[in-house]
């Protein structure tokens, strides 16, 4: 038995440090069987749900596509013009193809972190391998969809993203489920390796269901002059979500940025944080989060900046908007400096919509509810994330559709 299996077995009952503890035996391990097919020939409702999380059926709008339903990989392809520049395939296939890949497996995240990482090792259901080859600048985003079509299913994916030196790419990952699915558990391990002078902009959009649980576990290692930008959006209600992705700025002048937008509704329990560890000269980090909580949603917005080297700098900004007296927003920003010359700062603000702002907009002719909607939409303005314009437009569209429905 391998060392990681061993460690996983020991950790399989270990609760996570944060979030409600789940009984992982209550979920089904019996998926529907899906045969490989082009995305456009998938059922209409699956295509529609995928679209809502940024996954497009037309291949020409994306440089590469990976599509997994339940435990089956149904599509993986690189657009012809990008062949030889990027690789996309199931992680299982990649492990068979590349012997060296084992050096990237469980190297950012420990397999024995908690029962969910252990579960992903012991009951592993695919996931993707994405590699941007050296010096390739990929202008059109890659996309991956992790879809659940079976009620109460447990899906455990393990993804690896490698940006070889000097490469650049944007990746959009949408995680969602069929409208008939109410319950289930999604565990997603994603390990990022951003090498010298490489840049990855990773966007993850989650749409789950009211009784669904999600436990993503992500980590990134960034080498000299590398840049890692992570965007996370979650707008639909779910039972519980807990994640605390971490970026290690290991190389000189490496940078990390986490942008998060959470719209907590219904009875959702959401505990989302971001952590940046600055480990070398000139490292920079930024965490920006926007949290809205309404109905009876409980949202924890965490942030952790750790400065381990002099001449490093990072800032954390967390804003929360509370739209209901029964909802909660708990902002927990943390700073830890372990070296002189690590400059860390944070600002956090939680409150309701300012009456003064509503009145100002009403004085321009907006009704009260129109004014509120405008303010909420403005609160989730993605232009502050400093993303490429096309991606910004795409994400803003998703935000707009969500707010329109919600308000």
């Amino acid at each position: 038995m391998s060392a990681s299996k061993d460690a996983a077995l020991r950790a399989i009952n270990k609760p996570a440090a944060l979030g409600p503890d789940l009984d992982i035996s209550q979920y089904s391990r019996q998926p529907k069987n899906w045969e490989p097919c082009p995305i456009s020939s998938l059922p209409e409702d699956i295509i529609r749900r995928a679209l809502e999380v940024g996954v497009l059926p037309e291949q020409e709008s994306r440089s590469a596509t990976f599509f997994q339903i339940d435990h089956s990989v149904i599509f993986e392809a690189v657009q012809e013009v990008f062949e030889g520049k990027i690789e996309i395939m199931s992680a299982k296939e990649a492990l068979e193809k590349y012997d060296w890949l084992k050096d990237y497996w469980w190297k950012v995240i420990s397999v024995d972190t908690d029962k969910y990482t252990a579960l992903a090792e012991l009951a592993w259901d695919q996931g993707y391998f994405i590699r941007i080859l050296e010096d390739q600048k990929v202008t059109i985003p890659l996309q991956a969809c992790l879809f659940i079509s079976t009620d109460n299913l447990n899906q455990n994916v393990h993804n690896i993203v490698i940006a070889e030196p000097g490469s650049e790419a944007q990746i959009i990952t949408g995680c969602t489920l069929h409208s008939s699915v109410q319950r289930g558990l999604h565990v997603g391990i994603t390990e990022f390796y951003v090498k010298e002078d490489a840049k990855i902009t990773f966007t993850m959009i989650h749409n789950w269901a009211q009784k669904f649980d999600s436990r993503p576990r992500s980590g990134a290692i960034i080498e000299d002059n590398g840049v890692f930008v992570s965007n996370y959006m979650c707008f639909k209600p779910l039972k519980s979500l807990q994640m605390y992705p971490v970026a290690y700025c290991r190389g000189v002048n490496s940078r990390a940025r986490f942008n998060t937008i959470i719209y907590g509704t219904g009875n959702s329990y959401i505990d989302v944080g971001s952590k940046i560890v600055l480990q070398n000269e000139g490292c920079r980090g930024e965490i920006i989060s926007r949290v809205i909580a309404t109905d009876k949603a409980q949202v924890y917005a965490r942030g952790f900046l750790q400065g381990e080297h002099s001449n490093t700098k990072a800032h954390l900004e967390c804003r929360g908007l509370l739209l209901s007296d029964e909802a909660t927003i708990h902002a927990i920003p943390e700073l830890m400096a372990k070296a002189q010359g690590a400059e860390l700062s944070h600002e956090a603000a939680v409150g309701k919509i300012a009456e003064e702002q509503i009145q100002y907009l009403m004085a321009r002719g907006f009704s009260r509810s129109e004014a509120e909607a405008l303010i909420v939409r403005g609160f989730m303005d993605v232009s502050i994330f400093g993303l490429p314009k096309d991606l910004e437009r795409e994400l803003q569209k998703i935000v707009d559709i969500t707010t329109e429905r919600a308000l």
């Binding site: 003064e356 321009r364 405008l374 939409r377």
Partner: protein
């Protein structure tokens, strides 16, 4: 519904005054801030409102707009012949009241351009307005009032009022905190805007009067209008003697509320 609105139109046609504030008393958090205010603005006239800091000028504007914190304890506000005392803000605005605020709040993520395009969907006309107030088009992408300089706030407010249109233009200190150059731009634009319109303009030092012709001025002290008359004459007195001149005035003494 149709009959009712026709009636309103009919009435509004007949009334001489576009705005008729009658014996208006207002409280904020239980504290009296306006006391028996009477103010009539005939159609097509431009009126100036002077008064020291804290005398209630801006409160009168907030009350005209119907902001909920401003509780009308007696009196009423007639606009175009209709009693608007209990109408919500947006309905008053849609009837034709346009206000440029003195200290508008910043709203993150709400773009100035978004508001302007709502008020004036015609892009060509909007660009024309931007040019008139000498505003670069990229300003439209800024979050409204966030990090705006004093002058930028004034311009942005005037721009919104221009886009909004309306029949009664209310400007709260359009000339304070603006440099000479921008004052000329704003003064010219405001003067054009007020042609064929009625207006109520709050000013401290009356600088705006270099650019516009006003028909009448009022002085507000301690929540009441204590004096009305020729704008230039009143301004002259205030500049010479300050508001002490009003305090000495016998007529003003009898009118002032004793709180």
């Amino acid at each position: 519904m149709v009959i009712a609105s026709q009636k309103i139109e009919e009435v509004s046609f007949l009334t001489k005054n576009i705005l008729d504030v009658q014996d208006l008393s207002v409280e904020v958090s239980g504290k009296r801030i306006l006391n028996n205010v009477n103010l009539q603005i005939p159609r097509g006239e431009v009126h100036i409102l002077f008064g020291p800091n804290g005398s209630g000028k801006s409160s009168l504007i907030m009350t005209l707009l119907g902001f909920p914190a401003y509780k009308v304890v007696s009196g009423r506000i007639m606009f175009k012949g209709r009693d608007i005392t209990d109408l919500p803000t947006d309905e008053r605005v849609k009837m034709g009241i346009s206000v440029a605020f003195q200290n508008p709040p910043a709203i993150r993520g709400v773009k100035l351009g978004g508001i302007l395009r709502y008020l004036l969907p015609n892009e060509e006309k909007l660009n024309d307005l931007l040019a008139r107030v000498n505003f670069p088009p990229d300003f439209l992408n800024r979050d409204i009032n966030l990090g705006f300089s004093g002058g930028e706030i004034k311009k942005s407010e005037i721009l919104q009022v221009l886009a909004q249109g309306g029949d009664l233009i209310v400007l709260d200190e359009p000339d304070s905190g603006v440099d000479v150059e921008n004052l000329r731009v704003l003064g010219t634009v405001i003067n054009e805007m007020l042609r064929d319109r009625s207006a109520l303009i709050i000013t401290h030092l009356g600088v705006i009067l270099q650019y516009i012709d006003a028909d009448m001025a009022h002085v507000m002290m301690d929540g009441s209008i204590v004096c009305s008359g020729s704008p230039l004459k009143i301004l002259g007195q205030i500049l010479n003697e300050g508001y002490r001149w009003c305090e000495k005035c016998q007529r003003a003494k009898t009118l002032r509320c004793e709180l």
